[in-house]
Subunit: 240 residues, 2 copies
Amino acid sequence: MNLILLFADDFIAPDRVRLRGRRLQHVRTVHRAGVGDTLCVGRIEGQIGQGTVLVCDDALLEMQVAFTSAPPPPLPLTLLLALPRPKVLKRVLITATSMGVKQIYLLNSYRVEKSYWSSPQLSAENLHDTLCLGLEQARDTLMPQIHLRPLFKPFVEDELPSLCAGKTAVVAHPGDVRSANVPVLEPGLLAVGPEGGFIPYELDKLQATGFQAISLGVRILRVEAAVPALLACLFPPSGA
Amino acid sequence: MNLILLFADDFIAPDRVRLRGRRLQHVRTVHRAGVGDTLCVGRIEGQIGQGTVLVCDDALLEMQVAFTSAPPPPLPLTLLLALPRPKVLKRVLITATSMGVKQIYLLNSYRVEKSYWSSPQLSAENLHDTLCLGLEQARDTLMPQIHLRPLFKPFVEDELPSLCAGKTAVVAHPGDVRSANVPVLEPGLLAVGPEGGFIPYELDKLQATGFQAISLGVRILRVEAAVPALLACLFPPSGA
């Protein structure tokens, strides 16, 4: 937790917040903060700044807060992800969120196990908690949007063309070395298949919608490694 | 398991192997292979090829095997990793192995919890099993070497200078945007700190040994996302 994410309910005055539960525990056990210490805070969908600890005990954390700067810029990328198994989903969502992705479509695919769609991990509350972890990690405040698309064909045929309009769209196909890597840099879409990859029918459908197949090389990576590797390749850090 | 990794003990003839346990279970439940099916196999430290299933039942898997091609080229990079907590270590080792890293030094650092050094995850057997998962994922056969270095200062002072000789060495420092990203491409070293980063003393010691600080940007990533992102940045896929 590199930033304490604050919500409307946390405010007891315009410049004062009161926290309990997970965030209190984290500040006490990891930050080991005491009265007078300052911590990085951020208002959900708003600015980031500093909180000065006024009270920190077993029951509550109270801080005076001031917001001074914008959150880091989002990545101009929409991620289409074949729904991974629940544990992997959680890690990939944290990673994608911490890297700045704001639009994530979770897709069905032939190789996605049906049971994954009934995982509690997909409840609105659990998704929200997972995304908060990613935002707190990267000192961001802009909540990503998750779109569940349990039917592949209608999504690709009816919705995807307008999502793609005017954008670069690439699909990562493990082991496919025919295509060179294409830096997106402009607003784009990235599709990542399930373990085992998209089946040929799905790849054809995506390519017919304008997706270009790219590859990270002959080595096949797990989804949780492929996503950060692809994001880093497509949006290399520019330095300063 | 995109490749079934074979060891000397598995061979009952020069072209025949007999497997039980984890690999048998995986072939039965995930590949659902039957007699006559072919599977990708690789001989540890040797070539990859194909296995044709001769027997596959509850008790054993027997295959006729032929080896035809070299494993994918290793990444010419030595990874120095501040020891993460055991669960994260396992995932990062799988990722680094699947991306082709062959030399991994696990270091102490001020922010590494002492208890991590007594984790069963660090036993030779568990490390071996973890690395096998990474090799199987990436269809590789060349086992990485893991070096445990529970003392930071003697390692950096006595051993690191000769490891660095003639190589590009970079240390990833979260949030440090002063340095642009430097593609390594040639043989190199990459140091990745613990959650919270190396402390200034450690960073100074690494820089005094010739390490250049690089950053992935203002967003701070978890180690398990930072490692694949850094490897992908430093060794972008060339395509074909």
